[in-house]
């Protein structure tokens, strides 16, 4: 592995009410500075695993270590991007982006300054005073991403961030995400059910099998991204091979 693991999951399991088993004995190491994807069919517990790493759900078995410390709740080194955006409907884009800083007690001038910077970086300049209901799904998720970047966490946890966004917006967003993450030097853990999305974005893909979720395979796509534009990557032989390899594994789980 090229980089040191920043997140380690050791034997994590989760069962609800002692009967429904969502995850079983999951062990993972997620490298610093990389983008790792948790990929699997619906019901494989990938979101549960992400929320366990976030400290939002306690595991029933095993433990999670982040930056050498055991996780027992959310922490400042992790920020979450929600599938349903989780924006305050009564707050402007500016307040929503600054909300993480607001909760930490940063003064209004300071947090609005930081928020404005990230609003511009995610391409929403000019929408500072808009409300979420005035934005499209893609724009709302940009607000969610800006909020996660604004708290300056090392690790960004993204729970199917593009699942409620249309395909065109999704592609554009993916490309911008890669550019942005290169600049911001974040470690990203990304949950998705899209094989193409995983192959396109990831340095490491963790394939999960369904009910209970276990690690089925870990793939390191060796896609040469340097100097290539997104459309070239999507025609790259390695990229297409990875997509095919994942599909061969996942199709066994599809009923």
């Amino acid at each position: 592995m090229p980089a040191e693991a920043i997140v380690e999951v050791r034997g994590a399991g989760k069962s609800y009410d002692g009967t429904v088993e969502a995850l079983r004995d999951v062990s993972l190491a997620l490298p610093q500075g990389g983008l790792s994807t948790l990929l699997g069919p619906s019901g494989c517990g990938k979101t549960t695993l992400l929320k366990i790493i976030a400290g939002l759900i306690p595991p029933s078995a095993g433990e999670v270590w982040v930056k050498g410390k055991k996780v027992d709740g959310p922490g400042p080194e992790r920020a979450f991007v929600f599938q349903d955006f989780a924006l305050l409907p009564w707050a402007t884009v500016l307040r929503n982006v600054a909300f993480g800083l607001e909760l930490r007690g940063v003064t209004p001038e300071q947090r609005h300054d930081i928020a404005r910077g990230y609003i511009e970086k995610v391409g929403l300049k000019g929408f500072e005073t808009s409300y979420p209901h005035q934005l499209s799904g893609g724009m709302r998720q940009r607000v969610g991403l800006a909020r996660a970047l604004a708290v300056d966490a090392d690790i960004i946890l993204m729970d199917e961030p593009f699942s409620s966004v249309d395909e065109q917006t999704r592609r554009k967003f993916q490309e911008e995400l890669l550019d942005l993450l290169k600049i911001e030097r974040k470690t990203v853990i990304f949950v998705t059910h899209s094989i193409e999305e995983a192959a396109y974005l990831s340095d490491q893909i963790v394939l999960l099998s369904p009910r209970p979720g276990t690690v089925s395979r870990i793939i390191h796509p060796a896609i040469e991204r340097g100097g290539k534009n997104p459309d070239e990557i999507r025609r790259d032989k390695n990229y297409l091979d990875v997509v095919d390899e994942i599909w061969q594994i996942l199709k066994r789980y599809v009923v």
Binding site: P76, A86, L88, L103
Partner: protein
């Protein structure tokens, strides 16, 4: 457009009052005065001061009762929403109170508190409190789970969760509860004045009815209906202004 907003309600009023006038002149009953006589009686009662005086004594307990519900009722509803313990011992009581015909216990209040201001305030509270409490409780309970999780993920404390997410999210429902509470409060105060304390507008209604001054009686009834409708409509508009549907949580 602005004109149209006034034209249709105006036509509607003219139509209803016109029918009333016709029915009164027919007459369908000796005890049913036409609109014109009722309107004149309303004017007479306003000028001679009997109507304003009655309202002074009616509105005082109504306002006190609604303010009490606004503070204690909303507070209690929020407490029920936030604490499982408070919910556990008080939710059944309020479910029963909301379902029960509370007007039936108003005579009971007289036995305990006599016929003074306290009894009238209590009549208002007894009718208004259940809906105020239950709406506040439901507002808190309906909090968007995803927003609460977001607050926790960004290191919000429980206090911040309540102040910055749960309360703003519940605001619209709580306010709606207050509006419904006011509607119930109007019912409570009129029942109280008709049944227990012969004062205020209730007394005006029963007095004029007993001496067969039917236009005066109808004027009093009409005035309280109009006042209640205007007050509740006003609150509804305020509600829409304070909590526009597109930016409210619930």
């Amino acid at each position: 457009m602005a004109q149209q907003r006034f034209v249709w309600p105006l036509i509607s009023f003219v139509f209803v009052f016109g029918l009333w006038e016709l029915a009164g002149r027919w007459p369908i009953s000796l005890a049913f005065p036409p609109f014109s006589k009722t309107a004149l009686a309303l004017l007479r009662m306003t000028v001679d001061g009997s109507l304003p005086k009655a309202y002074l004594s009616t509105l005082q307990p109504l306002v006190i009762g609604i303010v009490l519900c606004g503070i204690a009722g909303i507070g209690f509803g929020i407490g029920m929403g936030l604490s499982r313990t408070i919910e556990w011992f008080s939710l059944p009581i309020f479910i029963i109170l909301q379902a029960a015909p509370m007007a039936a216990i108003i005579p009971l209040i007289t036995y305990i508190y006599g016929i003074g201001l306290t009894a009238k305030v209590l009549a208002v509270v007894v009718l208004a409190a259940p809906v105020v409490v239950m709406n506040s409780y439901k507002g808190i309970r309906n909090t968007n789970a995803s927003l609460v999780q977001m607050c926790r993920a960004f290191l919000g404390t429980r206090r911040q969760e309540v102040v910055k997410i749960i309360l703003p999210h519940a605001g619209a429902l709580i306010f709606a509860g207050l509006r419904l509470g006011l509607a119930m409060g109007f019912i409570g105060i009129v029942i109280a004045e008709l049944m227990i304390t012969p004062t205020g507008i209730g007394d005006l209604i029963s007095y004029h009815s007993s001496v067969a001054d039917y236009p005066e009686m109808f004027a009093a009834i009409f005035s309280i209906i109009a006042l209640a409708a205007l007050a509740i409509h006003g609150l509804e508009r305020l509600e829409r202004k304070l909590f526009p549907p597109e930016i409210r949580g619930a």
